[in-house]
Amino acid sequence: MADEEIEIEISPQGKVTVRTKGIKGSRCLDVAELFARIIGREESRQLTSEYYEQSAEVQNQVHVSNRYTGGDP
């Protein structure tokens, strides 16, 4: 979370480029689409390998569940 950042660049012609950094999974698109609703029309989008990575929260939840298999303690 500490490394998550959004970089917004507004060109002299008024074109807006929104770059999300350090945000894994589809959440980066949620953030970018928020700006699309604020600003106007989306012209193009490019997804990087970080988008396809699972976030750390999802990975940790999978490993916690199967420790106790039954029987008297």
Binding site: E5, E9, I10, V16, T17, C28, E43
Partner: protein, 151 residues
């Protein structure tokens, strides 16, 4: 980097919003607001070029009176107004200036206005959502870069 999205601003607002964007843009572009009555006699020798911002919608004021804003620089005059469809348009005029040059200057001016509109829209929204603006910078090519955290 996770994603890169490119957006084209849709300018929507009342005349005060347009005036604010124009006023903010002209400062760095060498234009100034034309004083009322000064040089109002239009020369028949002046060339004219009109540019409409298609992706715009100016909300009319309740009085129904159409408003204009005139700025000028070195004999070139730019009149901002709302056209019949409600879009923003600028009429460029200049004596001894070609139509092509007027169009070029007009597009540069509109680019600056669009930039200022987008900047203020974005910053207002960031503040409303309590997002943290870490840094703002005007680059050498006059683009504005804003870094945001806590979203």
């Amino acid at each position: 980097m996770s994603s890169v999205i490119v957006l084209a601003p849709l300018i929507i607002g009342g005349w005060p919003v347009i005036t604010a964007a124009v006023t903010a843009a002209i400062g760095t572009m060498g234009f100034s607001i034309a004083t009322a009555g000064a040089n109002d006699q239009r020369s028949h020798a002046a060339n004219r070029a009109e540019i409409e911002v298609e992706e715009s919608e100016i909300i009319p004021n309740q009085s129904g009176i159409e408003q204009t804003l005139v700025v000028e620089r070195n004999g070139i005059r730019a009149t901002f107004s709302r056209d019949a469809r409600g879009a923003l348009k600028v009429c460029m005029e200049g004596v001894g200036v070609s139509k092509a040059e007027l169009k070029r200057v007009g597009e540069e001016l509109l680019g600056g206005v669009t930039q200022q509109y987008a900047y203020h829209r974005i910053v207002s929204e960031l503040k409303e959502r309590n997002m943290t603006i870490v840094d703002e910078e005007v680059q050498a090519d006059r683009s504005v870069k804003i870094r945001v955290r806590n979203f």
